[in-house]
C-alpha cells in the first residue's frame, strides 16, 4: 500500500499529466470502459464483464473521437488485461493515451520527452511542494531531464545486443524472447531510449514506412530497461487494417476457440481519418520508476498483496 505521502505524490503526477496536456491544447476525453467489441489482438487477453469486455485500451473509441473531428485528445483511464501479473504488470492498471491529428510517430517521441520532463520537474522539484512531499530527485530520475534522449532502431538494437540475427528471430518466432533477454536490459540505462521502426510483421495498428513495407512506424519508450510506452503513426488504410484484424481474429479462433467480432464501426470511422498518431503510456510503471521501487505493486494504492 502507498503511504499517505506517496498518495499525494501520485495525485501530483496525475495533476502534472493533466496540466501538461491542457497547456498543449489537448482535450481530456472519456470513453466506455465496458466494451462489446474490442481490438482483436492475439497476445492480449481481455477480462470479461458479463457479455462484454473490460477495455484493454481506449484506442478504438479515442480514434473514433479523433475521426469525428477532435484534433488533439488525451485520456487517463483504467485498463484490464487478464493474467498479466508480475513485477511490471498489473491486471488492472492506469493508462495514459493521447492522439494527435496531423502528426506522426516522431511528434509523439517529442511529446514523450516533454511530458516526462515536465512531470519530473513538477513533482521532483517544485510542483507538489504544496503537499509537503517531494520525490527526491535521484540520479536516475534526473538523467531524464537531459536531452537528447537515445534513439535506436529495432534492427540496430538486435545487431548490437541479440545473439541471434533479427531475421532469424522473426523466422523462428524468437523475437520476444531475444528482446526481453538481451535487448531490453540495455535500453534507457541513463537517459530514456526510443526503440523504433519495428518489423512490418509487428505493425499492429501502425502505418508502414513509406517506401519500405518491411518496417512499421512504431516505437516503444524504454527507461531503465522498462517499457513505458508504445506509440505509432496510425494506419488509416481501412482495407489494410481489416486484413490485419482478420489475421488476429483467426489466431484467436485457433488458439482460444473464441469467435470475436470485427470492429466494423471503428473501421468505418477509420476511413475518415487523415494522418495522425497515437500512443499508450503506462502511468503506474512511470510512477514506480519515480519512486525508485522495483515492483509495480508498490507503486499503486493497493498492490497484489493488499487486496
Amino acid at each position: 500500500m502507498l503511504t499517505c505521502g506517496e498518495l499525494h505524490l501520485r495525485a501530483a503526477l496525475f495533476r502534472a499529466i493533466r496540466g501538461h496536456f491542457v497547456s498543449q491544447q489537448f482535450l481530456e476525453v472519456d470513453t466506455p470502459i465496458r466494451q462489446s467489441v474490442i481490438i482483436p489482438e492475439a497476445n492480449i487477453v481481455p477480462l470479461r464483464a458479463e457479455e462484454e469486455f473490460l477495455q484493454t485500451s481506449p484506442e478504438l473509441y479515442m480514434k473514433r473521437l479523433l475521426a469525428s473531428g477532435s484534433p488533439k485528445i488525451f485520456q487517463l483511464c483504467r485498463c484490464f488485461r487478464k493474467e498479466e501479473m508480475g513485477r511490471r504488470h498489473l491486471q488492472e492498471f492506469t493508462m495514459l493515451e493521447w492522439y494527435r491529428q496531423g502528426g506522426d510517430y516522431l511528434d509523439l517521441m517529442e511529446d514523450c520527452c516533454r511530458l516526462v520532463r515536465y512531470c519530473i520537474e513538477e513533482i521532483c522539484t517544485t510542483g507538489s511542494r504544496r503537499d509537503g512531499e517531494l520525490i527526491p530527485l535521484r540520479e536516475k530520475t534526473g538523467a531524464a531531464l537531459a536531452i537528447p534522449w537515445q534513439k535506436v532502431t529495432v534492427a540496430d538494437a538486435f545487431a548490437r545486443w541479440s545473439p541471434l540475427e533479427l531475421e532469424r528471430c522473426l523466422a523462428e518466432d524468437l523475437f520476444d524472447e531475444m528482446l526481453v533477454e538481451h535487448v531490453e536490459p540495455h535500453l534507457g540505462v541513463d537517459v530514456p531510449c526510443f526503440l523504433y521502426d519495428y518489423p512490418g510483421s509487428m505493425a499492429s495498428l501502425a502505418r508502414k514506412k513509406e517506401g519500405d513495407d518491411g518496417v512499421a512506424e512504431r516505437f516503444e519508450l524504454y527507461w531503465q530497461g522498462i517499457e513505458l510506452a508504445n506509440g505509432f503513426s496510425e494506419l488509416t488504410d481501412t482495407d489494410e487494417q481489416r486484413r490485419r484484424f482478420e489475421g488476429e481474429l483467426a489466431v484467436i479462433r485457433r488458439q482460444r476457440g473464441e469467435e470475436w467480432t470485427m470492429p466494423e464501426r471503428f473501421l468505418q470511422d477509420l476511413g475518415q481519418l487523415q494522418e495522425c498518431a497515437g500512443i499508450a503510456f503506462g502511468v503506474d510503471r512511470f510512477f514506480m520508476l519515480l519512486l525508485a521501487k522495483d515492483d509495480i505493486n508498490d507503486a499503486v494504492p493497493f498492490g497484489r498483496d493488499d487486496l
Binding site: E84, H89, L179, M202, E220, G257
Partner: protein, 211 residues
C-alpha cells in the same frame, strides 16, 4: 423427461479446452516461485520466476529451476500455451534408525517399511541426525530424494576444551564436537556432556539445554 433436448446438447459442444487440473498438468499461468514441476521425468522446483510481456508481444514466463535430485540449476523461458507435468512427490514421516557406513536407515512410522538413503543424498543433514529422530522424507516416484529435519535439534557435546577461567584471549566462542561428529562454535561455558540446541537451517548454536 429422460434425455436432454438435442439442441441444448449441441449448444454446449463448443471446443472445450482440456481440464488440466484433472489431467494433473500445470499451465504457464500456474508458474510461480516455489512451484514444483516435472521435466524429462525429473522433479524441479522454481527458485526464481519472472513474468514479462514486451509491447504487443507474447507473455513470457522466465523460470530459474533447481533439479530436486541432482541440484543442477537452469533457466528457461516458457510461453502461455506451455503445459507442465506435476511431479509425483510425496512426503512421508519416517524415523531415522541407524547408519552403516554411507547407508542411513529409516523406517516409515505408519507402514514400518524400512529403507536406506546414501549420505551423498543427505548432504549436510547427516550432521544433525541422531537415532530415533522423526524426519520428513520426500519421495519422487517412490524413491527417497530429500529429507527435512526439525528446525531445532538437541545434540550432545562429545568433545570440548575446558573453559579456562581468566582466559584473556578475548575470544567469546570455542569449537566443540557433537555426537554426530559435527564441529561448531559455541560460547565458552559449554562443556563436554552438555546438550546443546542447534538450528539445522544454519548449523549454528542456539542455546544450552538443561535436562
Amino acid at each position: 423427461m429422460g434425455a436432454a433436448a438435442p439442441e441444448k446438447l449441441f449448444k454446449h459442444q463448443q471446443p472445450a479446452l482440456p481440464d488440466y487440473t484433472e489431467t494433473g498438468m500445470y499451465s504457464a499461468s500456474d508458474l510461480r516461485k516455489g512451484l514444483k514441476i516435472q521435466i524429462d521425468n525429473e522433479p524441479y522446483i522454481l527458485t526464481e520466476f519472472e513474468f514479462s510481456k514486451p509491447g504487443k508481444g507474447q507473455a513470457l514466463y522466465r523460470c530459474k529451476m533447481r533439479n530436486m535430485i541432482t541440484g543442477n540449476q537452469f533457466t528457461q523461458t516458457y510461453r502461455s500455451n506451455d503445459k507442465f507435468e506435476k511431479p509425483a512427490l510425496e512426503e512421508r514421516k519416517m524415523q531415522y534408525l541407524y547408519n552403516q557406513g554411507d547407508e542411513y536407515h529409516f523406517m516409515d512410522t505408519e507402514s514400518y517399511d524400512q529403507l536406506f538413503i546414501t549420505s551423498d543424498h543427505l548432504g549436510d543433514n547427516v550432521n544433525f541426525m541422531v537415532d530415533n529422530m522423526d524426519i520428513q522424507v520426500l519421495f519422487f516416484d517412490d524413491k527417497p530424494i530429500d529429507v527435512s529435519l526439525p528446525i531445532f535439534v538437541n545434540l550432545e557435546v562429545t568433545k570440548a576444551d575446558p573453559w579456562v577461567k581468566g582466559d584473556t584471549s578475548g575470544s567469546d566462542t570455542k569449537p566443540v564436537t557433537v555426537q554426530t561428529g559435527y564441529e561448531l562454535q559455541v560460547p565458552p561455558f559449554v562443556e563436554e556432556g552438555d546438550k546443546i540446541q542447534i538450528d539445522t537451517r544454519t548449523g549454528q548454536y542456539v542455546t544450552r539445554v538443561k535436562e
